[in-house]
Symmetry: D3
Subunit: 68 residues, 6 copies
């Protein structure tokens, strides 16, 4: 029954990394709560950096200012 | 007031099917909870098959293994 | 794979009504998208009327003003 | 700690408008709940008009019927 | 059409503060995106401090360690 | 920046188990995507078994039928 939604910025997460996240979270729910593998769903929500804000700033701008 | 979010894999859901989901859910909330049509919002969230995992596997891989 | 989240105000939804919502949405996803019953998850999220706002007002206040 | 998700239809929201939403919501949480700027995250979720329904109709159709 | 979900820790947010959040967000969406007041829904999701983690720690523990 | 929401049925998850979930998910995002611990937020959403449905049935009923 568990449903896990992982929201991250869209910045080149690979198919392999997504698979590692899915496997890792499913294993964690088995280890901690003894949830049957077959019941766990994981969704990865990639968010454009223009659409994510922290501390009042767009992540796009935060990343740009770090590059300077 | 109801707000319904339907998450499905992105695999060719047509505009007509989306309309049927919206109409069907809105009618269901009218039938079961007597919610005024004008208050019901429905959002359909299409998720890439690389980004959805079940039983520790990406849906992309599950679909591929079924085709073999 | 479908995951459906139904958010409604907490105002006495009964266990039977919840069951009707779950059955109805699961059937709809079978009818429209041919989704296997066993893959559909439905979560009903009941929200206190103080915590839901429409048109800038708390639902609690909207309901009270209608009773006058 | 606050996390705010703003879902709107995808209809040409500009980068500047997104920045204004992020700044405005972060300021609001500071003003009302005294939440430290650095703890507030805002995500803007743009939804295709085919994927949003109101009153049983797709927003795409509602907008088209208004233009006639 | 906008739908805004504000998640905060459950730590005594008052009914008046909730009303201020609802009014403020609705006004912001009017100011920035010219969204009609009547279309904006706001839901405040209060989360127990045991159920929210930051930097790998429960907020309950973070708050306790600050009080020492 | 990551934000992770874990939805599980409310069936006696302990404070310690919640802490293990928070630590485990935060570590996973560090290991797989190299995300700074301080940026990861985790929320655990416990859902009453009457409010979660699988395969068209309430989890409450599924659990009861398994006990017979």
């Amino acid at each position: 029954m568990p449903f896990v939604k992982i929201s991250v910025t869209r910045d080149g997460v690979t198919k392999e990394q997504k698979q590692q996240l899915i496997k890792g979270v499913t294993q964690l729910l088995k280890d901690v709560l003894n949830k049957d593998f077959h019941l766990t769903h994981v969704v990865i929500n990639e968010v454009d950096t223009d659409n994510w804000g922290m501390a009042g700033e767009q992540v796009t701008e935060i990343l740009l200012s770090k590059m300077k």
